[in-house]
C-alpha cells in the first residue's frame, strides 16, 4: 500500500514537472513573434537578411526609430495620429451610445421594448465584416470615403456592446435607483449621477475591448481609407507588407511602434480586458 502511494506521488510530481516544462516551452514560443519585432526593428538591414541567423543582432540601431519618422515616403506619424483619433472617438462614442441604449432596454418599461431588442440582436446574426460592401455603398454615397467621419461614424453602433450593457444593467441593484427617485432625480440624472459611477468596471471592460478592436481593425479602414491621408497604422503597415520592395528594418520598427501603445494598455488594464472577454464569451 505504502509502495503504491509512493509511486503514485512520484508519478504526480513527474507529471507536474512535465507540465511546467511544456508550459515554459509554449510561453517562449508565444513570445518569439514579439521578440522578432524588436530584434528586426532595431537591427541593421544586413543583420536581418544575413543567411547566418543570430539570436541577437550585432548592434542595436535605435536610429531606426528616428529614420522611420523622418522617411517622407512612409506617413507613419500621420497614420499614428489617424489611428489614435479613430480609436479614441470610436471607444467614447460606442460606450456612450451602447450604454445609454443598454440602460433603456434593461430598465425603462415600454410597450415595444421587446421589438427594439429583437431588432438590435438581429444584427448580431450577420457579422459586420460580411456587410462591408453594403456599408461601403452607403458611405460612398454620403461622400465619406477617405474621411475620418467615414472611418468612425458607421462603426459606433455596436449591438454587441449594447447587449453587454443591457445584461449588466439587468443585474444592477434597483435600490440605488429607487433611492435616487425618492430624492427627486429624473431618469437622466439618475443614470449619470447614480448608475454610471457605480458601473465603472463594465465601462472599463467594454471600453478596452472596443479600443483594441478599433486600433487593430483592418478591413473597414482598408475599404474606406483609400487616400494616403486617411491611412491608419494598420493600412500603412499592410501597404508596405504587400508591396514588392520593402525596407525590412523600417517595416519592423514601424510594426513595433504600432503595437507598443496597445501592449501598454493591455498590461495596465488586463483585469478589465479579461472581464470583458469573459462577458463576450458568455453572452456573445
Amino acid at each position: 500500500m505504502g509502495a503504491v502511494r509512493q509511486t503514485d506521488d512520484a508519478l504526480v510530481r513527474a507529471g507536474r514537472a512535465l507540465r511546467l516544462v511544456l508550459l515554459i516551452a509554449l510561453a517562449v514560443l508565444f513570445l518569439i513573434p514579439f521578440y522578432l519585432l524588436v530584434r528586426n526593428g532595431l537591427a541593421a538591414e544586413a543583420d536581418i537578411t544575413s543567411p547566418d541567423w543570430t539570436f541577437f543582432p550585432s548592434e542595436l540601431h535605435w536610429s531606426n526609430v528616428r529614420e522611420l519618422f523622418a522617411d517622407p515616403d512612409v506617413p507613419m506619424a500621420h497614420a499614428l495620429l489617424n489611428s489614435t483619433l479613430i480609436a479614441v472617438a470610436t471607444t467614447l462614442g460606442t460606450v456612450l451610445l451602447a450604454s445609454l441604449a443598454g440602460y433603456g432596454l434593461a430598465r425603462i418599461p415600454y410597450r415595444y421594448a421587446g421589438a427594439v431588442l429583437t431588432a438590435v440582436l438581429g444584427t448580431l446574426l450577420v457579422p459586420a465584416a460580411v456587410t462591408f460592401v453594403p456599408s461601403f455603398v452607403l458611405v460612398s454615397s454620403l461622400g465619406w470615403v477617405s474621411s475620418l467621419r467615414g472611418l468612425i461614424v458607421p462603426t459606433l453602433f455596436s449591438a454587441f456592446a449594447c447587449f453587454v450593457f443591457r445584461q449588466y444593467f439587468l443585474g444592477f441593484p434597483r435600490e440605488l435607483e429607487d433611492a435616487a427617485q425618492v430624492d427627486g432625480l429624473g431618469p437622466w440624472r439618475t443614470y449619470w449621477l447614480v448608475v454610471v459611477p457605480n458601473a465603472r468596471p463594465v465601462f472599463a471592460a467594454v471600453g478596452t475591448i472596443v479600443f483594441i478592436g478599433a486600433w487593430n481593425s483592418f478591413l473597414w479602414p482598408l475599404v474606406i481609407g483609400q487616400d494616403r491621408d486617411a491611412w491608419t497604422v494598420q493600412v500603412a503597415l499592410s501597404t508596405f507588407t504587400t508591396a514588392q520592395a520593402v525596407n525590412l528594418h523600417e517595416l519592423f520598427v514601424a510594426a513595433a511602434v504600432s503595437v507598443a501603445p496597445l501592449l501598454l494598455v493591455f498590461l495596465v488594464l488586463q483585469r478589465y480586458i479579461v472581464a470583458g472577454v469573459e462577458r463576450s464569451g458568455i453572452d456573445g
Partner: protein, 305 residues
C-alpha cells in the same frame, strides 16, 4: 387614474427613446439601410454606381453562384474551419487546464498566452510573412530546417504541397488561442469543487478519468460558445489572408476565403457592386443560417430567451 397611467406611460416611452433613440437610429442607418440597399443593388447591373437603372433580375445571383471562384471561396472557408477550429479548441483548452493547475506564476503564464490578443492581424501577418515563414534562407523556419540540412521552403508561394495553410493557420492560432483560453479558465472556475470531491469519493482517478467524466461535461456550455465564436470568426477571415498572400502582383488565385473574394469582386477592377452585393447577401444568409442552426442545436438561444 386611467389618465394618470396614460401620462406616465407616455412619459416613460419618451424616456425610453431618449436613452435608446440615438443608438437605434444609428443602427438602422448604418446596418439596416445598407443591407436593404444591397439587396436592391443585387438585382441591378451596378458597375461603378450605387444608383443603377438597369434591372437584371436574378442575373447577379446566377453569376455569383455559377462562379467557380465563389464556390472555391466557400471551399476555402470549409477547409480553413476544419483546420483552425479543432486546433484552437484543443490548444486553448489545454492551456487553460495546464494554467489553472499551476500553484504559482499562474498570472504570469495567463498574461503571456493572452498577450497576442493585443496584436493586430496585420502586424502578426507581417512577422509571419517576412520573418518566421519568409521563403528565403534567412526566414526563421527555414533557418531551423537548415540546421537539419533541409532545403528552404517557399512557404507562401508553393501550392504543392500547400504549405501556406501552415502559415495561415498558425498565425490565427497564435493570435486567438489566449482569448479562448481565458474563456475556458472562466468556465473552469464555475465548476463547483464538490463535483471533484464526489468524483474522488467514487474512486475516479485524477487526470484523464476526472477530465473525461467531470471537467469536460461541465464545460459543455463554454465549449459550445467557443466553437460557435470560432466558426463565425473563421467565416470572416480576411486580414491574415490578404496580408500574407497578396503582393505587388495582386492576390494569387488560390486560398481566397469568402471576404477576400467579395473584396476583389466588389471593390477590385470594374467595381461590380451588383454582383458584389449579391455575393454579400448570399454570404450573410449562409452565416446567419450557420449561427441559428448551431445555437439551436446547442440550446444557446433558448437560455438567452
Amino acid at each position: 387614474m386611467a389618465a394618470y397611467g396614460a401620462v406616465r406611460r407616455r412619459r416613460q416611452a419618451l424616456w425610453f427613446w431618449v436613452f435608446t433613440g440615438p443608438f437605434v437610429l444609428g443602427l438602422v442607418l448604418f446596418t439596416y439601410v445598407p443591407l436593404g440597399w444591397s439587396v436592391w443593388l443585387s438585382f441591378f447591373d451596378a458597375h461603378n454606381t450605387v444608383s443603377p437603372t438597369d434591372f437584371t433580375g436574378l442575373d447577379n445571383y446566377r453569376q455569383v453562384l455559377g462562379d467557380p471562384a465563389f464556390r472555391s471561396a466557400l471551399g476555402t472557408f470549409a477547409l480553413f474551419t476544419a483546420f483552425i477550429v479543432p486546433a484552437t479548441y484543443a490548444l486553448s483548452l489545454g492551456l487553460a487546464l495546464a494554467v489553472s493547475r499551476l500553484r504559482r506564476a499562474q498570472a504570469f503564464f495567463r498574461s503571456v498566452f493572452f498577450l497576442p490578443t493585443a496584436c493586430s492581424y496585420v502586424v502578426a501577418a507581417l512577422v509571419w510573412k517576412l520573418s518566421v515563414f519568409n521563403g528565403v534562407r534567412f526566414g526563421l523556419a527555414n533557418t531551423v530546417l537548415g540546421w537539419f540540412g533541409a532545403e528552404p521552403v517557399a512557404w507562401l508561394s508553393v501550392t504543392d504541397p500547400p504549405w501556406y495553410w501552415l502559415v495561415v493557420v498558425t498565425v490565427r492560432l497564435w493570435l486567438q488561442a489566449g482569448f479562448y483560453m481565458v474563456l475556458f479558465l472562466a468556465g473552469l472556475q464555475r465548476i463547483p469543487p464538490q463535483l471533484y470531491e464526489a468524483a474522488a469519493v467514487d474512486g475516479a482517478r485524477p487526470g484523464w478519468q476526472t477530465f473525461r467524466h467531470i471537467t469536460f461535461p461541465a464545460l459543455r456550455a463554454t465549449s459550445v460558445a467557443v466553437v460557435l465564436l470560432l466558426v463565425i470568426n473563421a467565416f470572416q477571415a480576411f486580414d491574415e489572408f490578404y496580408n500574407l498572400l497578396s503582393d505587388a502582383r495582386g492576390y494569387p488565385p488560390y486560398a481566397r476565403p469568402p471576404l477576400v473574394y467579395l473584396y476583389y469582386t466588389a471593390l477590385g477592377q470594374g467595381q461590380n457592386l451588383g454582383v458584389g452585393s449579391a455575393g454579400a447577401v448570399v454570404l450573410a444568409l449562409v452565416i446567419a443560417v450557420v449561427t441559428v442552426v448551431q445555437s439551436r442545436w446547442s440550446g444557446l438561444g433558448r437560455r438567452e430567451a
